[in-house]
């Protein structure tokens, strides 16, 4: 039977009509910043379903365990605390000073005298150095089993409650028919219902962005342009956030970043920008990228002044700092958004903040802590595992992205504080608010091996210790 084009058209319009209708609804809601609360209900429903699935799984596990006898009682500790206990700190060498110390202090090893006091002191020195060798060895072994850095660059460990996404389950086992059925249902819903809809919204969002860019270019008045730009930007990001079914809870809105300041946040994924921009408009600063994202960057640059640079260019850094200064000094410029970690970290910890933006002493810094709830979708972008597009698709086929944004009170650099210390202080504040582990490791370790001078540093510390014995 031949289907005529008219029939095809009617079929398509029947399918599209509800989509278009819902899309229009979403758009108006976005523009007016209202929420029907549907997403929250949806998330609560999901939570119930996940609990049910986990309960089934646990029941199965208990029945399996009781068949196999085991001596040790099951550890009720959640995985994270066990890991923190094991994390070796290269700082704790002081614990192992030898119990017996000689009274004579040895200042240099050049004395070749044969007196017994020297010899026994040397022996003790050897003993203590032996202890350190033992400690070093043990720390090395511990690091092989579990180290602090590698695990920050992969998605966080298995959750207690399984969220019906195979990608988060470490070993997929067949538990029971019910769970598999649920998983399959979830799969269908996510890929065939939610995903096309979200894709449609995404295209809409991109169109809006392009359209508004063109619109604003031809807009005459400068001031009105900025204000319009501000609102358009917010609406754009609200649409985009609905693309990912993002449920954003913002805390402490009184500390929202003001014009002419710098906003600093921890970085977990490119979606961070969208989430923060639903509430406030920013001037962005970051690495100029290629491809789709690069095009996005260039388009955005037309509506507001953003700063894009090439990280590897040394003189670029100066230029960037200068530009930032200028930008801040012009008072009605949008606040600058910057992610000082430099790379995506998996939302369990905060790594070393690069001191670049903290060197601008006249600016106030508004720290923001972004905490994702992993149960409904893991927002971390593992750039060595997924390309950006792949990542976006993963995001669009997750259940939802639930995020808590905490605005923190503004901070400025204090008298006599170096920029490194200031960076550390801000980092500690963010870590405390978001419940992250505060680490001093450089995010750049994700891609490069630590520089040789770290090792030399360790060796020097050891030497100092030997000297003071």
């Amino acid at each position: 039977m031949m289907i005529t084009t008219a029939q095809v058209f009617t079929i398509i319009s029947i399918i599209c009509a509800p989509m278009v209708g819902i899309a229009a609804l979403v758009l108006t809601l976005a523009a007016l910043n209202l929420s029907l609360g549907i997403r929250r209900l949806y998330v609560q429903l999901l939570a119930l379903i996940f609990d049910y699935a986990t309960k089934i799984k646990r029941d199965k596990e208990i029945s399996i365990d009781s068949n196999a006898s085991s001596d040790e009682p099951p550890t009720p500790l959640p995985p994270s605390t066990a890991k923190n206990k094991l994390a070796p700190t290269l700082e704790k060498k002081n614990e192992d000073n030898p119990a017996e110390k000689t009274n004579s202090s040895i200042h240099s090893f050049d004395r070749r005298s044969q007196d017994p006091l020297f010899n026994s002191a040397l022996l003790l020195l050897y003993n203590s150095s032996l202890r350190d060798i033992i400690d070093c060895t043990r720390q090395g072994l511990e690091a092989i089993v579990d180290d602090d850095v590698t695990k920050r660059f992969t998605s966080a460990e298995e959750m207690v409650v399984w969220n019906l996404l195979t990608r988060t389950q470490q070993q997929h086992e067949y538990f029971s028919m019910r769970v598999t059925l649920l998983w399959f249902l979830g799969f269908c819903v996510r890929y065939f219902i939610l995903f096309p809809f979200r894709l449609f919204l995404f295209i809409l969002g991109v169109l809006w962005m392009l359209g508004s860019a063109v619109f604003l270019q031809y807009f005459p008045a400068k001031d009105a342009k900025l204000r319009f730009g501000f609102y358009i930007n917010i609406v754009l990001h609200r649409i985009l956030s609905r693309v990912f079914s993002a449920i954003i809870t913002i805390h402490n809105t009184e500390h929202r970043a003001k014009c002419g300041s710098i906003c600093v946040a921890n970085h977990t994924s490119p979606i961070d920008v969208i989430i923060l921009s639903t509430d406030n408009s920013f001037s962005m600063i970051g690495q100029q990228q290629g491809g789709f994202f690069g095009m996005v960057q260039r388009t955005l640059s037309q509506t507001a002044n953003h700063i894009w640079f090439e990280r590897s260019e040394a003189k670029d850094r100066h230029m960037v700092a200068e530009k930032m200064r200028e930008h801040i000094q012009a008072h009605n410029n949008l606040p600058i958004l910057i992610f000082p970690e430099g790379t995506c970290i998996n939302n369990t910890s905060v790594m070393m903040f690069k001191k670049g933006c903290f060197e601008i002493t006249e600016a106030t810094i508004y720290p923001v802590a972004i905490k994702y709830d992993n149960r409904f979708g893991d927002a971390f972008w593992n750039s060595s595992k997924h390309e950006l597009f792949q990542y976006l698709i993963l995001m669009m086929t997750s259940w939802a992205i639930v995020v808590d944004v905490y605005y923190l009170p503004p901070m400025t650099i204090e008298e006599g504080e170096t920029s490194v210390d200031f960076a550390r202080r801000v980092k500690a504040a963010i870590a405390k608010q978001g419940g992250f582990v505060d680490l001093e490791w450089d995010g750049g370790l994700k891609r490069a091996l630590p520089k040789a001078d770290y090792k030399a540093e360790e060796q020097r510390k050891f030497y100092e210790m030997l000297k003071t014995e």
């Binding site: 070796p88 060798i133 850095v149």
Partner: protein
């Protein structure tokens, strides 16, 4: 190991192995990829001990995997599979049971082999100097290190052969609670 600990350890082993498709072994490069091991002054030594002493693969298997001829076999396998990995770490598991002398001796042997790389069951002056150099780097000059090494051997050497044997080594460490210090908790 409890089943959970073993599972965790296996997960870790898999994370460390970056080969695709995974062939089931870890090499030196992958262990060096762990930042904290790379920064540890004894990191490379430790990896040497792990791979060479505990990671021996049979010659036939090695040749089969690398598809080389017997004549080019250098005797250095440089890889470790999971069973050997787990066996080695089982040595360091913190036991609730009272001190097992056999285990203690094995731990001491592990430490001894950190020094003794030519496997002649003796630590001679050069090996001692090497380890000291690894620990302090460029901070002490060679003369001073030699002095320390000589004096140490002088003190510890009982039978006068100017080398430290395994028994002499153990005697030095008898005061230190090796078992406690070389035990670690495994995540489960």
């Amino acid at each position: 190991f409890t089943p959970e600990e073993l599972q965790r350890l296996y997960g870790r082993f898999q994370d460390l192995e970056k080969r695709d498709p995974p062939l089931g072994y870890i090499t030196r490069k992958e262990l060096l990829n762990i930042r904290e091991v790379a920064v540890n002054p004894l990191g490379e030594r430790l990896i040497d001990v792990i791979l060479q002493d505990h990671g021996k693969v049979s010659i036939q298997q090695h040749l089969f995997e690398t598809k080389r001829k017997y004549s080019s076999f250098k005797g250095d396998t440089n890889k470790i599979n999971f069973r050997q990995f787990a066996n080695m770490f089982a040595l360091f598991r913190r036991d609730k049971a009272p001190t097992n002398l056999h285990k203690r001796e094995k731990k001491l042997l592990f430490l001894f082999s950190l020094y003794d790389r030519n496997h002649d069951s003796n630590i001679d002056r050069n090996e001692l100097i090497e380890i000291l150099k690894l620990m302090v780097g460029g901070n002490i000059n060679d003369e001073q290190i030699s002095t320390i090494a000589d004096h140490t051997i002088g003190e510890l050497d009982v039978n006068g052969d100017l080398k430290i044997t395994f028994e002499e080594f153990c005697a030095t460490l008898s005061r230190i609670h090796i078992d406690e210090k070389m035990s670690m908790k495994f995540p489960s």
